[in-house]
């Protein structure tokens, strides 16, 4: 049941991401719901289970993108690893911490993408990427993040209440 709920969340998030979210783009940038979900899983999943979710989300994102297969698998895995490892040392209540976590995650995501494509694979990245698209992407994600976190947290509390499972943390 828990796995089915996570599967449905992923289907809805990716469907929204690839359809109507484009209508809310600012300077050609839309929020990355998958990234926000990965940060949420990294923080709220027990042990290293969040890393597995980050890997899965990254792989799905790669399949639904026209870019190099594996870039998002790598970046989302590393981001979930980062938050999963540090979750016991982080305070995750309140808008500001969530805002800052997601900005950090977005910057990491963009930098990993840039480094992999430019350094390892000599790929073409728009010149304005690091200084115009990436900051907008990070701030936009930071603003949308707390809203999505709120709904994901409601779901988490409901799941914890209704379906006892070994995946989610109590707080």
């Amino acid at each position: 049941m828990f796995v089915l709920i996570q599967f449905l969340i992923l289907v809805v998030l990716f469907s929204a991401q690839t359809t109507f979210l484009e209508n809310f783009s600012i300077a050609g940038v839309t929020p990355d719901l998958a990234l926000i979900f990965v940060v949420f899983c990294g923080i709220h999943f027990k042990g290293s289970r969040g890393i597995g979710m980050g890997f899965t989300v990254g792989l799905i994102q790669d399949c639904l993108s026209g870019g190099l297969l594996g870039v998002n698998t790598l970046s989302k895995s590393l981001i979930s690893f980062f938050f999963s490892t540090l979750k016991d040392k982080l305070m995750v209540e309140g808008l500001l911490p969530i805002f800052l976590f997601i900005i950090t995650a977005s910057l990491l995501d963009g930098i990993i993408f840039y480094v992999v494509l430019v350094t390892l694979f000599k790929g073409a990245v728009p010149g304005s990427f690091l200084f115009s698209s990436l900051p907008i992407y990070a701030i936009y994600n930071g603003c949308v993040g707390p809203i999505l976190f709120y709904f994901l947290d409601l779901n988490r509390k409901w799941v914890l209440h209704k379906i006892p499972n070994p995946y989610l943390r109590q707080s």
């Binding site: 990716f14 991401q17 026209g66 698998t73």
Partner: protein, 271 residues
């Protein structure tokens, strides 16, 4: 202490495995041809029905709003259109005469009719799941005869080409993607160049010599070279020209003819 150390080692092993797997995936993706991995097809097959439902819902909602604004604007448009009709009917008479003249001339010269290309109408069901590439998904795939390297366009002009096909869906790389390059020419001067995507909503026309006469508003067409896009498809119009003193080529920005923010139905040019 020992437990902590074991946990740390486990995490490092996990991290190394994830990095290794991602790098293998990237390398395989570069080395192999364009056919999708089995899990790519599986994920697209699972997501695409939901994408269709979302797209239809959004389309219905935006349709209601568009209809309202349409009614508000229609009275003013009606007046303008009546004036245009008068003007166009006069032009039509002149052009009919010219067409007849051309037909007479054409009869004198033996000419092979260019083969009409078959078109398949497809609906855009989704966009790229990341920020960093410009790709759309359409609801036609190999079952409908849609394969890699077919050109895709709207009535306004070229939008891109198919880069990957599964059974019922295909990925279209838009001409605005930074990996896209279309051999093109200026309709008026016939000077050639390459229309390259920038990753934004504009396209750059590269390798146009400094001495080529180009003006803002000049239409750009596909040249037919490269084998994907047939000759004469509209790509866009020149929106900005910068001539650097030191450079060999002009820096030309092109506004694509197709509106990429409102892609709904597209045409796939079949082989």
């Amino acid at each position: 202490m020992l437990r902590k150390r074991i946990k740390g080692k486990r995490l490092i092993t996990l991290l190394s495995l994830l990095i290794l797997f991602s790098l293998v995936l990237m390398t395989l993706n570069i080395k192999r041809d364009q056919s999708p991995f089995f899990f790519e097809s599986l994920i697209v097959t699972i997501i695409s029905p939901v994408q269709v439902v979302f797209t239809q819902a959004v389309s219905s909602i935006s349709g209601v709003f568009e209809h309202y604004f349409f009614v508000v604007n229609s009275a003013r448009e009606n007046k303008e259109l009546r004036m245009q009709i008068d003007q166009l009917s006069q032009e039509k008479n002149e052009l009919t005469e010219r067409v007849k003249q051309q037909e007479r001339i054409a009869r004198l010269i033996p000419n092979e009719e260019p083969q009409a290309r078959q078109l398949t109408v497809a609906t855009v069901i989704g966009r790229d799941a990341t920020q960093w590439s410009k790709v759309v998904f359409i609801d036609k795939g190999t079952k409908q005869g849609v394969y890699e390297n077919l050109a895709v366009m709207t009535n306004a002009g070229v939008i891109g080409h198919i880069i990957q096909s599964t059974g019922t869906t295909s990925k279209v790389l838009l001409i605005t993607d930074s990996r896209s390059a279309v051999d093109s020419l200026f309709q008026g001067s016939r000077v050639t160049g390459v229309a390259v995507g920038t990753g934004t909503n504009a396209v750059k026309m590269k390798y146009v010599p400094m001495n080529a006469k180009v003006e803002v508003g000049d239409p750009i067409l596909s040249s037919g070279l490269g084998g994907i896009f047939p000759k004469g498809l509209r790509i866009g119009v020149v929106s900005q020209i910068i001539k650097m003193k030191q450079g060999l080529f002009q820096d030309i920005t092109v506004n694509p003819s197709a509106d990429f923010s409102r892609l709904e139905e597209v045409l796939v040019l079949m082989p």
